[in-house]
C-alpha cells in the first residue's frame, strides 16, 4: 500500500470525523455519552483502521473466506466497543451497533476508493455544506476548518498521485518546489483564516450564530427526519427508531430552549455564562465584516501581483509539469473568476438602474414627469423633449435600463462605462428654454384692468412661474 493512499485514507477519515463526530456524541444515555473529542478519535480510528485493514488484506492476497472473516471480525470489534460506550439498554446498544455499521461501511468504502482528484474536489464542495451545518449545530467551527484543511491536503495529494501516474514523475511533493509552495500557501491560508476567525469571532458569538443557524437550518431538517421516522414507525415500529426520534427531539428542544432563554451560548458551548450585550455583538459583526473586506482586498492584491509576475516571466521559465500542476489552480481561479464576473455584472446592472432613476428624476425636475402607467419606452419621447439634441444618449440609457431591469445583466463593464458617459453628457445639457409667459400675462392684466375699470382680474394659475 502506497504512503500516498494511506495519507489519503487518513485525511478522509479526518474529514469524515468532522461530519460524524458531533452526531456521535448523542449516542447512549446521558451519563455514558461520548465527549466530542472522544467521538472524534473513535471515528478517525474506526474509519482509518477499517480502510487500512481492507487495503492490507487485499494487498496481502489473503483468500476470500479468511478475508471476509477478518473484515467482519473488525466490524464485530467496532460494534462491541460502540455498544459498550452506548450504555446498557437494549435500544442504546442497538443505536451503538448501527453507528458501528455506518463507520465500518464507510471505512470499507474508503479502503476501496481510488481518490481521483475530481472526486476529492467534489467531496470538498459537497462536504463543506454538511460539515458547516453540523459544525454550526455543534457550535464547533473548528470542525469546518479541520475539514477544509484535511480535504485540501487530500486534494493536493490525489492530484500529485494522478500526475505521477500519468507523467511517470517523482510523486513526492517536495520534488516539485513550486507545488510544495502552493500547498503550504493554501494550508497556511486556511490556518490564518482559522486564527482570524478565532480573533474576530469569539466562542460566544460563534455559539449565538450557531444557534440561529440551528433554528434556520436544522429545524426543518429535523422535522423532515421526524416525518420520515414516523412513516418508518408506521411500517415496522421498532423500539430503536422511537428512541432515535426521542433523542433528536431532546436535542432540538435543548437548543430551542437555549435560544429562547437568550443564554444559548452557555448551553451550547458550556463556556460562557452571560448573554452577550447587543452592542458587543454588533461591534463584533462589524469587525468581522471589516476583517472579511481586508482579507478579500489582500487576496485580490496578491492575485494581481501574481498575475503581473506571471506575465513578466519569460515563457521558457515555466516548470515542466506546469500544465497538470496548474490545472487545480486554474479550476479554483475559474470558479473565482465566474463569481467575480457575476458580481461585477450585478453591480453594473444596479448602477444602470440607478442612472436611469436619476435620469427620470432629472427629467421630472425639467418638467417631463413620467406618468405612473408609462413604460420606459413610452417615456422616451418625454426624455427627448427635456434633453434636446440628445435623443441617442437618452435612447442608449433607456435601452440599457430595459436590458438590465427586465433582461439579463449586461455583458460587459464597457457597456456600463458607455452608459455612465451618456448620463454625464445628458446631465450637462441645458434645460430647454420655455418662453416666459409673465410679461404677456402682465400685458393681458393691464388690458383687462383698463377695460374693466378697477375690477381685479383673477390670478391665472402658475402665472408667477414660467
Amino acid at each position: 500500500m502506497s504512503r500516498a493512499r494511506l495519507a489519503l485514507i487518513g485525511l478522509y477519515a479526518l474529514g469524515d470525523a468532522c461530519a460524524l463526530a458531533a452526531p456521535l456524541t448523542l449516542l447512549g444515555p446521558p451519563a455514558a455519552r461520548l465527549s466530542l473529542a472522544a467521538a472524534f478519535i473513535v471515528v478517525v480510528l474506526s474509519l482509518s483502521g477499517t480502510a487500512a485493514s481492507r487495503v492490507s488484506v487485499v494487498a496481502a492476497n489473503v483468500d476470500r473466506v479468511p478475508r471476509i472473516g477478518i473484515l467482519v471480525g473488525l466490524f464485530t470489534l467496532i460494534a462491541f466497543l460502540m455498544a459498550a460506550f452506548s450504555g446498557r439498554t437494549l435500544s442504546a446498544i442497538g443505536i451503538g451497533v448501527a453507528a458501528a455499521l455506518v463507520l465500518w461501511w464507510r471505512g470499507m468504502a474508503l479502503g476501496g476508493e481510488e481518490f481521483q482528484p475530481d472526486g476529492v474536489r467534489m467531496r470538498l464542495w459537497l462536504g463543506l455544506v454538511l460539515v458547516a451545518v453540523i459544525g454550526m449545530a455543534a457550535a464547533e467551527p473548528i470542525l469546518i476548518f479541520l475539514f477544509v484543511a484535511a480535504t485540501l491536503l487530500a486534494l493536493h495529494i490525489a492530484h500529485l498521485v494522478s500526475v505521477a501516474k500519468n507523467r511517470d514523475v517523482d510523486p513526492r511533493a517536495f520534488a516539485h518546489p513550486r507545488w510544495a509552495r502552493a500547498i503550504l500557501a493554501i494550508e497556511a491560508g486556511v490556518l490564518i483564516l482559522l486564527l482570524l476567525e478565532m480573533l474576530v469571532f469569539n466562542t460566544e458569538v460563534v455559539a449565538r450564530i450557531a444557534q440561529i443557524a440551528v433554528v434556520a437550518l436544522i429545524f426543518p431538517f429535523a422535522v423532515l427526519v421526524a416525518l420520515i421516522g414516523s412513516l418508518i414507525l408506521l411500517i415496522i415500529s421498532p423500539e430503536l427508531i422511537a428512541e432515535l426520534m426521542r433523542r433528536i427531539a431532546e436535542f432540538m428542544q435543548a437548543r430551542l430552549r437555549a435560544f429562547g432563554s437568550g443564554n444559548g451560548a452557555a448551553d451550547l458551548t458550556q463556556q460562557a455564562s452571560d448573554p452577550i450585550s447587543p452592542v458587543v455583538s454588533v461591534a463584533l459583526v462589524i469587525g468581522l465584516i471589516i476583517a472579511a473586506i481586508i482579507v478579500v482586498v489582500l487576496i485580490a492584491g496578491a492575485a494581481r501581483v501574481a498575475a503581473k509576475r506571471r506575465l513578466a516571466r519569460p515563457p521558457g521559465d515555466m516548470p515542466e509539469a506546469a500544465p497538470e500542476l496548474d490545472a487545480e489552480t486554474d479550476a479554483l481561479r475559474s470558479v473565482g473568476g465566474r463569481v467575480g464576473a457575476r458580481l461585477s455584472k450585478l453591480f453594473a446592472a444596479a448602477t444602470i438602474r440607478l442612472i436611469y432613476a436619476r435620469l427620470t428624476a432629472e427629467a421630472a425636475r425639467r418638467g417631463a414627469r413620467r406618468a405612473p402607467a408609462q413604460t420606459a419606452l413610452e417615456y422616451l419621447p418625454g426624455l427627448a423633449r427635456v434633453f434636446p439634441g440628445a435623443d441617442a444618449d437618452a435612447r442608449r440609457v433607456t435601452d440599457a435600463y430595459i436590458a438590465a431591469h427586465y433582461g439579463e445583466v449586461p455583458d460587459t463593464l464597457d457597456k456600463l462605462r458607455a452608459i455612465q458617459a451618456a448620463w454625464a453628457r445628458l446631465r450637462r445639457i441645458e434645460p430647454p428654454v420655455v418662453p416666459d409667459a409673465a410679461p404677456a400675462l402682465r400685458l393681458l392684466r393691464q388690458t383687462q384692468g383698463s377695460t374693466q375699470g378697477s375690477a381685479q382680474a383673477p390670478e391665472p394659475p402658475g402665472s408667477s412661474t414660467t
Binding site: Y356, R358, R370, P372, A373, Q374, H405, Y406
Partner: protein, 314 residues
Amino acid sequence: MQSVTLLADRLRANIRTVIVGKDDVIDLALIALLCDGHLLLEDVPGVGKTTLAKTIARSLNGVFKRLQGAPDLLPSDVTGVSYFNQKIQEFEFRPGPVFANVLLADEINRATPRAQAALLEAMQERQTTVDGVTHPLPKPFLVIATQNPIELEGTFPLPEAQIDRFFARLAIGYPSEHEERELLARYERADPLLTLQPVAEAAELIAAQQAIRTIRVERSVVDYLLKLCRSTRGAPGAQLGVSPRGSLALYRAAQARSALQGRDFALPDDVKRMAPSVLTHRIVLDAQSRLRNRSAEDILREALERTPAPVDAI
C-alpha cells in the same frame, strides 16, 4: 431564439404575398400561432378574414380542414361519428374536420350552440370524446374562426366559455387607399392564395412553441401583468373580468412578442401591446355599460391607465 425569429420571418413573408399591408394583424396572428392559441377573426364582411385564415393554414405544411358555420351543422359534423361498418361487423370512427392541424371555422356564429359546443373540448383539451371514447387531436392544433359582428340575424353569439378559449381576437379593418390599390394590382391576373406554398413544418412550429416558453419574464413584469388582469375583475362597467386563462394567454403573448422582436426577455410594453388583442374579448360588460355604449376596450384602457408600470424611480 433565432430559430423562432427566422420561422416567424418566413411565415410573415409568405403571408404578405397574399395579404396586403396589415403587418400588425399578421404579427398578432403569428403570435397566436407561436403561443399554440386559437384565433378569432372578427370584422365586417370582405376585409380578408377568411383569406388570412387560409393563408396561415396553407403556410403551414400540415393537415388543413374547413368547417362552414351553418344552422344545420351538427356536433358530429365537427368531431366525427361512429358508424357500424357492415363489412367488418364493427363500429368504426370516422374523424370529423376537427382532426386537423389547422381548422378554419368560418362564420362560426352561424353554427348552432350545440355545434359550437362540440369545439369546446377540442379547443381547450386538444382531444375530443365521441361515444365515450376520447381521441387525441394532432399537434399542433389551431382553430382559426371568423365571425361577422354586424350581421346578427340568424346567428348564435358565442358563449363566454367558448370565447375565453380563443387566445386572441383580431379585427382586420379596411385597408388604406394605397394598400387597396396594391391589392387590386396583385389580384389582377390571379389569386395568389392558389399558388401559395407551405414554408413551415408542423414540427418546426412545435419546437418554436417550446422555445417561446423559455423567454424570461422578470418578476416585476409578471406582477404588472397580474395587476392589470386583476384590475379588470370588478372594474366599473365589467360584469366579468379577465379569467386566469386570460392572464396565462397574456403572459405567453408577451413572451412571443419578445421573441418576434428578437429579445429573450419580455417588457411591460409587450404586455401592454398584447393586452387589447388577448384580453378584450374576455371582458363581459354589464347592462349599464352596454346601454351607455361603453366597450370592453374602454374598460381595458382604463385598467391600463390605472396600473403603474414597473419602472424604477427615485
